[in-house]
């Protein structure tokens, strides 16, 4: 037997105190298999030991929430007996080490979380953060991650309908890959993971178990250094073909009456799935590893319990249904084995080659996992001190912004994703939110992911509030009623008080905004230790959100539809330039405070715009976010290939720069036929919503081609084609000659 030395304990990522607690819980020293099992179950990745105490502050309930955090994914009621099931999850560390497989298996993992609950996945999104474009690794990582997401999602036949991408030097050594999956199921056919009852067969389905990904969860719970390349073997290898078969086989099994509980084997594989299912069911589980389908010879119990081989599920069946289930999995040419049984002992007992190799109380692994009140220091929000050069011409600044890495078109990325498979994608990437019709109905789900990390760095509380507000606004801008949130909290090392302070403040910001919008958090994931050589990433609490359109015919898009429409600006413009993209891209300065979010105003303005869309008065709307008013107008002009003449107040160049590029929150642009304007403005005034005329579409009369020009006060006539050239040009130019070969 391998002796358990302090060195071995540390290699398993456990502290001396944690190890002492394990001995206390077991009443003896663990053996190596048990130590391995504890190490993954008590890892930050599986136990949320640093964040759990804070996450309790998030609002998680609403009448339409069918299942909040704690299951594989969150579930909300979308009417007519239908439910939407969704979650976002990170695969940051693996994607940095091995971008194609890291991203691919991130997509596979989050899909399993959704279909293990009985849903057919209907849409994928991803929130990606890369290092500075000029950093040596960035291009290869972009190419690999995008190919990996596409390689997996495309094969699954689930459309990837949008997401977000940022570049910033803080991610040079630690990229973020957050994938979100949305599925649809019947509300009365949702499957949970509680392994209730004793004597029920525990079955293993999907791929065989290999030695890949051993200790992936532990790897994901530590910082990186120069030796990170050596961690490559901890990254799993994805097989989307098997996952597609697993999806169809699981849905076929779920149509029967055979399942008590089911859970995917994600991080920490067989260990976490069995322990979590037993814990939730208040039962015990006995596993016989000799029956586990194995890909390699001579695998030890330690290997099998810690393997993170992909495309596997663990299910508890009702007794007597084994043959029925086996027939389905054989049809789909998947492995199927009864590997254990539920018990009433409350213990996880693992046998291998005739001997008991682990025997632990289930509660010790889950409920008894450490929860830390780590010390934290609150961040002092940055003061809004900025300076700008008033001589910079607005036209040139606009073109530069449109072609900047964070604002340019992401076409290069999303054309590598199948975004129309399943024939229900009603709004493609490029708008405020993607819209996917619920198959066979007139209703649709709107989906978005948002966060502005530079805001969160300057002020984690306001920044996190803003992330929720922007997601809520994006859903409202297409006409959807925002329903619920999934959050993916990406931060640095929580053992540092300033990082823990970022986490605490961000959770408070999310909680406050979600409460104000009645927009509960129903699922989520934390990714900590995103640091390399002690340098943390920008705090990045990514918000994924889902809304419902009752009638997909009443939907707004960002493209200008008609010449001669009146442009109305909803929301107040103060000209807040602190932390704006204008400041960063044009002045080269990341300074100031982020724009504050007044949640009451935000809600009032959003409800106003949504009602205009729902009642058919508005078909063109766009939220104003990164880059401000002028960037939003440029996007609307490019979308519809119709220009505009813009009216904004101001006297000096400073005024105009602030009006055009300020990132004040709670704002939308809508474009309406002249006949409807007065009624809309009157209604705005009744409801206390700031709304003003801000121009006319396609109005330009001059030497340049009519209706192809964007112009306004202090803005020289700018051809849409010049905007488009800058906007569409950056990504393909940057990626030219990328070296990542597509891999299957």
């Amino acid at each position: 037997m391998t002796p358990i030395t302090p060195q071995l304990v540390r290699e398993h990522g456990l502290s001396d105190t944690e190890y002492a607690r394990i001995e206390e819980l077991l009443g003896r020293a663990p053996n190596l298999v048990e130590l391995g099992i504890f190490s993954v179950m008590w890892s930050e990745h599986c136990s949320y030991k640093s964040t759990r105490a804070h996450l309790r502050r998030l609002p998680t309930r609403a009448p339409w929430v069918l299942q909040g955090p704690g299951e594989n994914a969150g579930v909300i009621d979308i009417g007519d007996g239908d439910a939407a099931i969704f979650k976002m999850e990170s695969h940051n560390h693996p994607s940095f080490i091995e971008p194609y497989q890291g991203a691919a298996t991130g997509v596979g993992g989050i899909m399993r979380d959704v279909f293990t609950m009985g849903a057919r996945p209907v849409a994928m999104m991803n929130a990606l953060r890369f290092g500075a474009p000029e950093h040596a690794k960035t291009k290869r990582l972009v190419a690999g991650v995008v190919a990996g997401i596409g390689g997996y999602g495309n094969c699954m036949g689930v459309p990837t309908v949008g997401g977000e991408v940022n570049f910033h030097s803080s991610y040079n050594g630690n990229i973020l890959v957050n994938a979100m999956c949305v599925g649809v199921a019947r509300a009365d056919r949702i499957f949970m993971s509680a392994a209730k009852g004793a004597g029920n067969p525990v079955v293993y389905i999907g791929s065989k178990t290999g030695r890949d990904g051993i200790h992936g969860a532990t790897m994901a719970s530590a910082e990186f250094n120069e030796d990170s390349e050596e961690k490559r073997p901890t990254v799993q290898v994805g097989d989307p073909f098997t996952e597609k078969l697993l999806l169809e086989a699981c849905l076929e099994l779920m149509a029967t009456d055979a399942i008590v509980a089911i859970q995917d084997m994600g991080a920490a594989g067989l260990t976490s799935s069995s322990a979590e299912m037993a814990s939730k069911g208040g039962s015990g589980i006995e596993l016989d590893l000799d029956r586990v389908p194995q890909r390699e010879a001579h695998m030890t119990a330690y290997d099998m319990m810690l393997s993170e081989s992909q495309e596997r599920m663990l299910a508890v069946l009702k007794p007597g249904h084994e043959a029925e289930a086996e027939r389905i999995f054989r049809k789909w040419e998947l492995d199927f084995a009864v590997i254990g049984v539920t018990t009433d002992t409350g213990r996880l007992v693992v046998r291998h080659e005739g001997a008991v190799v682990a025997d632990m109380p289930v509660h010790a692994l889950s409920e008894e996992a450490p929860v830390y009140q780590r010390p934290f220091t609150r961040h002092t929000p940055a003061a809004n001190e900025i300076s700008i050069d008033e001589t910079k011409p607005i036209r040139e600044s606009l073109i530069r912004l449109m072609g900047s890495p964070d604002l340019c078109s992401r076409r290069w990325i999303w054309e590598q994703y199948d975004n129309t498979v399943m024939a229900d994608t009603v709004q493609l990437p490029g708008g405020d939110a993607a819209v996917v019709r619920v198959h066979g109905t007139q209703k649709a789900l709107a989906i978005t992911t948002d966060v502005t990390p530079r805001y969160c760095k300057a002020d984690p509380f306001e920044g996190a509030k803003q992330a929720v507000a922007e997601a809520w606004r994006n859903l409202s801008a297409v006409g959807a009623t925002p329903l619920a949130v999934t959050d993916n909290l990406n931060f640095g090392n929580p053992e540092k008080p300033e990082i823990m302070g970022e986490i605490a403040s961000a959770v408070d910001g999310i909680a406050e905004a979600c409460r104000a919008f009645d927009f509960p958090v129903v699922s989520g994931n934390c990714s900590l230790y995103n640091e390399t050589n002690g340098e943390a990433i920008l705090p990045t609490p990514a918000i994924g959100a889902v809304g419902l359109l009752k009638n997909v015919d009443r939907m707004a898009t960002i493209a200008f539809k008609r010449k001669g429409d009146t442009i109305i600006l909803v929301g107040e413009t103060k000209g807040h330039l602190g932390q704006s993209l204008y400041l960063r891209e044009i002045e080269g300065s990341e300074t100031g405070a982020p724009p504050p979010v007044d949640l009451a105003v935000e809600k009032r303005n959003g409800d106003f715009v949504r009602r205009l869309i729902e009642t058919g008065q508005v078909d063109t709307a766009h939220d104003i976010s990164d880059g401000g008013l002028l960037v939003a107008l440029a996007e609307m002009a490019m979308g519809g290939n119709i220009g505009a003449e813009i009216l904004v107040p101001g006297k000096t160049m400073e005024d105009f720069i602030a009006q055009y590029f300020g990132e004040d929150q709670g704002r939308y642009i809508i474009s309406v036929q002249k006949s409807g304007v007065d009624a809309i403005l009157a209604r705005a005034s009744q409801e206390g919503v700031a709304a003003v005329r801000a121009g006319t579409t396609g109005a330009y009369q001059g030497a340049l081609p009519a209706d192809q020009v964007l112009m306004g006060r202090a803005l020289a006539p700018t051809l849409i084609s010049d905007l488009r050239k800058a906007h569409e040009g950056w990504f393909p130019d940057y990626m030219l000659g990328d070296t990542m070969p597509p891999t299957n």
Binding site: G157, T242, Y417, T420, A423, P742
Partner: protein, 222 residues
């Protein structure tokens, strides 16, 4: 018109094809599992898009060897209409029902976007309701759509009027020889094409250009 959609492991446009067929014919197609060796008597067989067998080995290579393909070949011999879309086209090429091969896209990347096509042949059950030279827009979504055949084969396809669809000038998304997007068999009852007509049969989804193909089939085969 009675129809069947063949389902291979990891076909993923089988539902999309079924929806389009049902919309146009009013009848659900028979969904035929690849392991079957028989299928009902139908007027049209559709090989849908997807990643049959994960695209492992070569796209369509393993599906071409499946049980059901023997029956598909026999039906095609007898004159039953067979439509292969995307992965279905790759399967037809691998099965020898259509000449040539679909190679990795010239820029080595998966590509998904609407592409303008020109309808070159209207003398087929698939294209009779289009106008000759008509421009239509269908989306493509593939990593291996780069049509290749030797010059003699290409000459023959063109000479016999078997190039049904070409990518419009400047629109070729994958490097296909002579901008070929879809071809007919010698007897003109088998069509393989990379773009997806079934994804443009609903105005909400960005167009209805694909409907004419299903309407052609309905008119010809009912």
């Amino acid at each position: 018109m009675r129809t069947a959609v063949i389902v291979f492991p990891a076909s993923n446009c089988d539902r999309d094809a079924a929806v389009a067929l049902e919309q146009l014919t009013g009848e659900k197609p028979a969904m035929v599992w690849h392991g079957e060796s028989e299928m009902p008597d139908v007027d049209l067989i559709v090989l849908p898009g997807g990643f049959s067998y994960g695209d492992y080995l070569r796209c369509g290579a393993m599906a071409a060897q499946s049980h059901i393909m023997r029956e598909v070949k026999a039906r095609a011999e007898k004159g039953t209409a067979v439509l292969g879309i995307c992965n279905g086209f790759q399967v037809l090429a691998e099965a020898g029902l259509l000449p040539g091969a679909l190679m990795r896209n010239a820029d080595l990347k998966f590509v998904c976007r609407p592409v303008a096509l020109e309808v070159e042949e209207t003398q087929s059950v698939f294209t009779r309701k289009f106008d000759k030279g008509q421009r239509v827009t269908f989306p493509v979504a593939h990593g291996d759509g780069n049509y290749f055949a030797d010059a003699a084969t290409l000459d023959r396809l063109e000479g016999e009027g078997r190039v049904a669809f070409r990518y419009a000038p400047g629109e070729n998304p994958n490097g296909s020889a002579r901008d070929i997007a879809g071809i007919l068999s010698e007897k003109r009852n088998v069509l393989g094409l990379m773009p997806h007509p079934e994804r443009v049969c609903d105005p909400l989804l960005g167009g209805t250009d694909g409907k004419a193909m299903f309407e052609s089939l309905l008119e010809a085969l009912s």
